[in-house]
């Protein structure tokens, strides 16, 4: 997949799911920023609170199902802005790629251990490494969806350029804080 335009024109999407403040549910969250990380759009879902039975019945597939099928797809449908690339911080969220027209990339710090059993069919996508522009940031590992290997090179090009300005994992902290504050301010998000 080719992405046209200079990197300054790129919009970056960040998708994640977070546990609610009361640890009994999940909130999906999508932040779209410009290449400097300045927010352009933010959306989140109402919390999904699976019952104990549902947790047992879904087992390990619970979080991927909620993250991809329920939250991810709903959030992407609701946005007014289309990102050039979607970055996810959980390996199972990479499956959202099946419904997007733009590349999706899973980003994690190099050296972090991950549970590969959570990715669908245990298939592992192609991976690459991005070194940070300065000593403040960690090197990153980027992984594409197994069925969309071309995403990797596109993502690497974009992320290497923006890494000078923006750590691709940093916006996930902002989203987490925002969700925490929403939980404190509005009982719906608790």
């Amino acid at each position: 997949m080719n992405i046209k335009g200079s990197y300054e024109e790129h919009l970056l999407g960040f998708l994640s799911i977070y546990e609610t403040n009361s640890n009994d549910g999940y909130i999906g969250s999508l932040l779209i920023t410009d290449f400097q990380g300045i927010p352009q759009e933010f959306r989140c879902t109402h919390p999904i609170k699976p019952t104990a039975v549902q947790k047992v019945l879904y087992g390990d597939s619970l979080e991927p199902f909620i993250g991809v099928n329920l939250c991810g797809s709903s959030l992407l449908k609701s946005t007014q802005t289309v990102p050039s690339i979607l970055i996810v911080d959980k390996n199972y969220l990479i499956d959202i790629r099946k419904i997007t027209t733009f590349p999706v990339i899973y980003v994690r710090k190099a050296g972090e251990t991950i549970d590969l059993s959570l990715s669908e069919g245990n298939k592992i996508g192609k991976r690459d490494r991005i070194d940070p522009p300065n000593s403040k940031s960690h090197p990153l590992i980027i992984i594409s969806h197994p069925d969309f290997s071309d995403d990797l090179s596109v993502a690497k090009k974009i992320l290497e350029k923006i890494f000078i300005i923006l750590d691709p994992l940093e916006p996930f902290h902002r989203m987490l804080k925002a969700i925490e504050v929403l939980g404190k301010q509005d009982k719906i998000f608790k």
């Binding site: 300045i38 352009q40 759009e41 699976p50 019952t51 329920l70 300005i165 925002a178």
Partner: protein
Amino acid sequence: MKILRDLTSNLAKKLLFNDKDRVFLLDKIEIDFKEVGITQIIIPPISEPQGIKIQFFQKSAIKDFDIKLSDSGQTCIYNISNENLDKIAVFQISAKLSYPIIKNFSVNIEKPATIGISYKKYERKNNVSTLFPISDDNLCIHGLKRKFCSICGKSSNSEKTKSKSNFFQLILPILQTPLGDNFDSPIAFQDKKLYPFQRDGVKFLVNHKQAILGDEMGLGKSIQAIVAIRLLFRIGEIVNVIIICPKSVLTDWEKKLNDWAPELRVVKICGTPEQRKIIWHFPAHVYLITYDTLRQDENESRKDFDLVILDEIQKIKNPSAGITKAVRRINGKIRWGLSGTPLENYLEELVSIFAYIKPGLLHYSDVQNSQKIKELIKPFFLRRRKQDVMKKLPKKFNEEVWLELTPAQRKEYDKAEKEGIIDLKRQGLSVTVQHVLALISKLKQICNLAPRSKESCKLEYLIEKLEEITEQGEKAIVFSQYPNKTLRLLEPSLKKFNPLVYDGSLSETQRDAIIKKFQEDEQNKIILMSVKAGGLGLTLTRANYVFHFDLWWNPSVALQAEDRTHRIGQKKTVFVSSLFTVNTIEERIQNLLNKKRQLFKDVIDDLSDTRLSKILSEEELFSLFNLKKSKK
């Protein structure tokens, strides 16, 4: 057993594998047991299990068998023979069945609702913080005063509706890029930079839920506070803040917030009481209000904020003052005070200030021990001086200029003083400190400008100096405590310098316009400023000459005023001249104050300004006219 097993397994199937229904209440199950000829079993509603009814329709096929019901301990055995069947067409088991409690649940997890906002539409405008026009004097487009125009009145209401904010706008600061380890993110700060000591100040505030930033005037206390606010918003520590400040700096705060924290939504609480009542409930990150407005809105104001900032916190030095009481009704999880002179006169003032910032820290019994007070407040108090942190700031030279009254002035002065003293003596025991103060004011005004002859030695000196200054392309500020009895009278004589007059009678809009004009318009060489109206918070770095035409009782007021020029942004040496007249009340007051200054410096040097001094006691005021205060 077999029947029961089949029964339960079929029941379970019906319950669990019903295709779409999510509610599984059954009142009938059909079971076909061919070998025994049972064609139907009717089960009452699950919610109220009463028993089981078995109907037999093929009599010939029925044989003897056992029915074991439930595994709950209740067992019913029925022997059924062919003979019985002739008589019994319908057989009912009367024993209660022990059904399992069936809970309804959905296996499907439904898609969640999404909520959010596109920030592209949300762009802060300079006037967004004001719901209503600041001044009601503005004529509307219909040629009427806005407050009297019914059409504009309606549009004000619709404006209010449009301004209703989405909560997602309020979490925007949290979603912004980080400020950087040293508050140096080029994205967050663009071209603005903090000095190293300011970064320390920000860190001090962020790390203290109760704090007073007591930096010397001109070191950027408000900017440090704004960056600290910004940081707290970004880490999700706060979602709202109220800044209470003197009227003269309200607009300055708004401008600085706009410059240093453009993502924060600022609401300035001003206007008529009705307007303010609405504005108080307007969603915003920062609520800006003056001390006086807060006092007026005691019953309307919101009481709980995540952060309360009191600019010029010495405003609450008097525990019985209305302003102090109004402030104390505002709850803040975090409380900061800002002031270059937190201690103006007495240590008791610090007790009152800390009673709000950190209740229980200081007690009035502590004021006898200044060392103890120093130690107690030390963790919550940060003060830096220009001489220590801004070594590159241009120097400031202070000089006292002693002048002789003109003959006509002297005549008027002597006459007024003589008559005044006679009058005080004549009042005898009924004379009060107010009478003395009134005489002092009258005499000081004559020292400034004689009302009958219109002569003034100070004015002559000032004009001479201003000619030199303006020739050099520089500007000056003239401060006086008497806007009407001095400044307005000086104005005609200073016309050639295109003076601007800034005093308490001006509206906020007029004040802002005058400050902007002075800073930007080269035609206006001087500004005549009431020391009370213009002494706090303003930035007037375009001027580097300051003249105190007269001095307030408290030297810290004069210091505050002259530091409007001697602050960050000033590139030239600042010259401050205080004008006094010899053999007058001014000289006597100065002598008394000088004696006290050293003593006070020794006690509280670390806490406040070195030139801070106590005001004069009643006894000392009476002594200025060789009078003794009567003992009543």
